[in-house]
């Protein structure tokens, strides 16, 4: 009897508790953002009630010293626009950044400007109808779009509308150990991007000459252990519309012999010729892109402008910069990526005009001189190339003019990446692409076999991730 009483009263209490929390939950349901599932076509809906004086929240990355430059740029903006107050929200980069962004959106207080710098680009948010179209503002303020890199601008459009503006450029280059080259009696690599004798065959040959087991020296790092390995011979994994639309739609990896051959070429350098670092060796240093080249035991590799600040700290050997090699025989133009980030705006900000003014400023020459140029990478404006060289000359006084020229020529010879410009590449990369490539690097399968085997999964994933995208 007593037990029954207690059980009943407990159940009653449990019921009340559940009911109460269900009510609480209903009250806490994520605030539906405007235009949740409708595609973001022309902004036909009225913008949210504007508060001219409302602060403009900016979600900024706080990695390794970047904060100071953002701070400097934004303070400059505020001094020129005294009526606009900017709230700085800092977050570590990559996943924490996008999580913070997502939570701010889910909580109903989205940032006015953000720059993910990571795998999830603005197009993902655009596809959910959360990006603010910028065309009206661009036209109204007559922003000079011709100064931006064309390829990047192409990527900043979603369904025909501008939803982002490019903020920087991190091109790739070949970086080589001049001392090791001299020791092997080899001349410096070319800084000329039009030199067609410099192709992947030449690269592989040089790597063989530079590999010396006696001193544990390798000719090269693995050319790329990720999806760019498919680009080395000038071809791609998917049809080119992916860069326009941002949607990975059509898998052509198994039907493109040069893509298969490229992956095999990368693998052969590692496994057959043994002239390149293995992914195992890379893994232990790949956290935050620290690279084996700094050990002085690797003669050359495909590096990024971002590596420069690390390379500048090397004191044991002399290093140089060079152009990327062409596909074999220069039969096709190069297909390699330049990392470009962008500022974008989330719909639903309270001070739309203020947010636009900030965004416009941050991509302008005055702001880009501070970030990104003073921080390190190149700007997204063609006109600032020489300014960048001036800044870098102070940090690298020994570098020749030709080397600087090769650096500023690089973005023109490269194009936007798959990762942060697409909506659905991320799950495809993690679940199909990389595991497939891993089996090739492990020597378990040939490139042809691996690519053939992954094709059904690839098509399935594409189908799953594009459901609902138009």
């Amino acid at each position: 009897m007593r037990n029954q009483l207690n059980r009943r009263s407990f159940l009653k209490m449990a019921g009340m508790v559940t009911g109460a929390s269900a009510l609480a939950l209903a009250g806490c349901a994520p605030a539906a953002t405007p235009n949740t599932s409708a595609p973001a076509v022309a902004a036909t809906s009225a913008p949210p009630a504007q508060q001219a004086g409302a602060p403009v929240p900016a979600l900024l990355r706080s990695d390794a010293g970047e904060k100071d430059y953002f701070e400097k740029a934004i303070s400059l903006f505020e001094s020129r626009n005294p009526t606009i107050k900017v709230t700085r929200v800092y977050s570590p980069g990559q996943e924490p950044y996008t999580t913070k962004l997502d939570l701010m959106i889910a909580g109903g207080d989205p940032p006015a400007i953000y720059a993910p710098f990571s795998a999830r680009g603005y197009r993902y948010y655009a596809s959910k109808g959360l990006s603010q179209p910028l065309d009206d503002f661009i036209n109204r303020d007559k922003v000079d779009m011709s100064d931006f890199f064309e390829d990047a601008l192409k990527g900043c459009k979603y369904k025909g509308q501008y939803m982002a503006l490019p903020l920087d450029a991190w091109p790739h280059l070949v970086i080589f150990n001049r001392d090791l080259f001299k020791k092997a009696g080899l001349p410096d690599l070319t800084t000329d991007w039009t030199d067609k004798t410099w192709d992947t065959n030449a690269y592989a040959e040089l790597a063989k000459k530079l590999t010396d087991p006696a001193t544990q020296t390798l000719g090269s790092r693995i050319y790329s252990s990720g999806w760019p390995a498919g680009w080395v011979f000038g071809t791609d994994w998917f049809t080119p519309d992916v860069y326009e639309t941002g949607i990975v739609k059509t898998w052509i990896g198994d039907k493109t012999p040069q893509t298969i051959a490229a992956v095999q070429w990368v693998a052969d350098m590692v496994l057959k010729d043994k002239t390149a670092t293995t992914p195992a060796q890379e893994k232990s240093l790949a956290a935050a892109n620290q690279n084996p080249f700094t050990t002085g035991k690797v003669a050359m590799y495909v590096g990024n402008i971002g590596d420069l600040s690390t390379l500048q700290q090397i004191t044991d050997f002399d290093w140089g910069l060079a152009a990327l090699p062409f596909p074999p025989g220069a039969s096709l133009p190069r297909h390699w990526h330049v990392w470009i980030d962008f500022w974008s705006m989330i719909k639903g900000v309270k001070n739309l005009e203020g947010a636009w003014q900030l965004l416009k400023f941050m991509v302008s020459a005055d702001a880009q001189k501070i970030y990104p140029i003073e921080y390190g990478p190149q700007s997204s404006l063609k006109s600032l190339a020489n300014y960048w060289v001036e800044v870098q000359k102070k940090l690298m006084p020994k570098k020749t003019d030709q080397e600087f020229q090769t650096m500023i020529d690089a973005p023109k010879n490269e194009q936007i990446d798959l990762e942060n410009w697409t909506i659905n590449f991320s799950p495809i990369q993690t679940q199909a692409m990389q595991p497939m490539l891993d089996t090739v690097w492990l020597g378990e399968k040939t490139a042809e076999q691996a690519i053939k085997d992954v094709t059904p999964k690839m098509n399935q994933l594409i189908k799953d991730t594009t459901a609902g995208l138009s």
Partner: protein, 301 residues
């Protein structure tokens, strides 16, 4: 046999055992003392290798960190790295913030968890077993999926960009700590409770005057763990704090890192080693509670 008793009349059966027994035991004890020490020492040396690497890295120039061949002794020992690391990011601010949050969290955790553990260990209540299962269950659901609803609750409470979401949950007990204390409380004989009740003690008296004093190692353990949990929490400060001056150490440490290749490894290692100090100190000072056999007094066999 170096027996101390010589007279046959004094020869007591159990006493006679003692001289030999004693001698054997003392030798045995000394051997075991040293062999234990050696084993522990070997293990400690192995454990220290990664830490030694961190220390070595913290004193190197950044370009030297990944240089080959591996060097344990930096070419030039840069003690300067430590002051540099502290000024590279607002390290003192983060340190202060983390200390503040962790201290309040620890107090809350110890107080609230011991209360709840007492209930589970010593009191009867309807539905107690179900509640205990629920308690354990809360440890089993990965926190990623409750992250967003909890965030929204905090948002609706207006607690964003403040320390409240970081500290308050500790004051509502934590399943880990409650479970731990419950297990400990249940090793204390309930006869003590009965004796106290006969003397007219209330439940609160039993809790405050009997359980808590006898559970010092367990409470110290909870303090150590709660401090560590709060001190190293990366996710909550990340999602709840916006203002830079409120940030804590784990988030701050990530500012040394760059996703783009120019991580300051030496600063990062230096800063990491510096952040070890408070949890270590807490651990050190609670050591005095780990005294053998100080637990039960006044209990007749």
């Amino acid at each position: 046999m170096t027996a101390t008793t010589t007279s046959h009349a004094d020869y007591h059966p159990t006493e006679a055992e003692r001289p030999i027994w004693y001698k054997r035991k003392s030798v045995r004890k000394r051997i075991s003392l040293w062999s234990n020490t050696i084993i522990i020492l070997l293990g400690a040396l192995i454990l220290m290798v990664p830490l030694a690497w961190m220390l070595s890295t913290s004193l190197k120039a950044n370009g030297e960190v990944f240089h080959l061949p591996i060097s344990w002794i930096p070419r030039k020992i840069l003690f300067q790295n430590y002051p540099d690391a502290i000024t590279y990011v607002p390290f003192p601010t983060y340190y202060r913030n983390s200390l503040f949050i962790a201290s309040l969290s620890v107090i809350g955790a110890v107080l609230s968890s011991s209360l709840v553990a007492f209930a589970f260990a010593r009191l009867r209540g309807p539905g107690k077993n179900i509640l205990f299962i629920i308690l354990l269950s809360t440890l089993m659901l990965p926190s990623e999926v409750t992250l967003v609803p909890i965030y929204l609750i905090m948002r609706n409470l207006g607690w964003l960009d403040s320390y409240r979401p970081l500290i308050v949950p500790y004051w509502f007990g934590g399943a880990f700590y409650i479970f731990l204390l419950r297990q400990f409380f249940m090793t204390i004989p309930s006869e003590l409770d009965d004796a106290a009740k006969i003397d007219g003690a209330t439940f609160w008296d039993i809790y405050w005057r009997i359980m808590l004093p006898l559970s010092k190692p367990a409470l110290a353990t909870v303090a150590i763990f709660a401090f560590y949990d709060s001190w190293n929490d990366f996710r909550s400060p990340l999602i709840y704090l916006n203002s830079d001056n409120l940030l804590t150490l784990p988030v701050g440490l990530s500012s040394y890192m760059s996703t783009l290749g120019n991580t300051h490894w030496n600063y990062l290692m230096a800063a990491t080693l510096l952040t070890l100090i408070p949890p270590l100190l807490i651990f050190f000072f609670t050591q005095r509670f780990f005294i053998q056999g100080a637990i039960l007094t006044g209990l007749k066999g």
